[in-house]
Symmetry: C2
Subunit: 242 residues, 2 copies
Amino acid sequence: MTYCVGMLLDEGMVFLSDSRTNAGVDQINTFRKMYLFERPGERALALMTSGNLAITQSLVSILNEDIEAGDDRPSLMNATNMFEAARAVGNAIRSVHMRDAEALKAFGIDFTAALILGGQIGSEKPRLFSIYAAGNFIEATPETPYFQIGESKYGKPIIDRVIKPSTPLAQAAKCALISMDSTIRSNLSVAPPLDLVIIRRDELRVGSQQILDAENPYLRMVHQRWGEALREAFGDLPDPQV
Amino acid sequence: MTYCVGMLLDEGMVFLSDSRTNAGVDQINTFRKMYLFERPGERALALMTSGNLAITQSLVSILNEDIEAGDDRPSLMNATNMFEAARAVGNAIRSVHMRDAEALKAFGIDFTAALILGGQIGSEKPRLFSIYAAGNFIEATPETPYFQIGESKYGKPIIDRVIKPSTPLAQAAKCALISMDSTIRSNLSVAPPLDLVIIRRDELRVGSQQILDAENPYLRMVHQRWGEALREAFGDLPDPQV
């Protein structure tokens, strides 16, 4: 499993991904699920992946080949806007599907992949997309300024209660980390190290990129104090008549 | 969908169920999912159901027929302990399976059902079971003193953080209601009215039974104040460096 969340805010974007992959409970590995594409001053994009690892790694290989081919092929580095970039990712997942889906089906394996792509290119505003295995996609709006992929349910209530477009970036990153902490606590197949990436509006570069392992002091503080805060808030609420 | 939670505590048991059923988003109905079996002074049992409504209603009809047949047949009203009662429910779900599963399969419909059965019979201690569609079951222990069925993920983190066997009944009911509120907020297919039932240890009767509709003042207070409390706790936590 996987948990990734991307948020589109007035000040910019927050991306957070875990790094656990598993094939059954006895085959657990660490693979990064965050990929950055940057030409400072021109564009900064982040892609997060979930689903079948062979599929998502193939996808990223194709995206990189397209970039290496230069301007002969549409790619994340020559797309003139984020919609084009999302279409490039959609096309890449479709070419993986064309190559592999039949063979996987013969082994009873579904073609599963879900992606979050966000970033800013040139003078266009920052945009955030959720891209499906079929290569189609939807875009975040002020009403729904975030997307989750993977194990999304445990960590959704806190995001729904806190995140608005006007939420400052540092608070949004805190919310993403609390959401991740709740997910890690409830699902063994989601785990650190975490990749936390910030792209500030109009900077056209990756603003900050951190890898938080299980010993990271901020992550440990969130883990401990959020639990305490929840128990305190719980204690303050009046009991029902039973 | 459905959300039900049952908790086994030192002081007794808490049962909470929603009442929304849906076949697609355009066919939404209200059906109670809480069934009580009581002979005061001798036994008090609560059964909560999720899954295919035709299956779970058949199951309850069979359980009631068995009771009406008196001592000729094993039933929830003549079982001498909770393990026997859980087996009676398991047998009933198996007989629904035997009758209906093939016909459902022909229409591509899975045989889905999940049940929570709890209660106390005679001098035995209160016991809580999670019963599967196959008629097999597991029992709650001090390490895992609760079971959820249906849409369980949104409301799990608060239960994991709060509920211990020593939690008082009123606090456990509050926790169940907060857990339900988070679920209702995130999943349209879970909704009031809610059935809240308390069975106190060694009382051998249903201690309290309440139906909470959407206008219930306590439920509205939980909905509003829990959201505020979460946002306050969120605000108190230091922001990360980004």
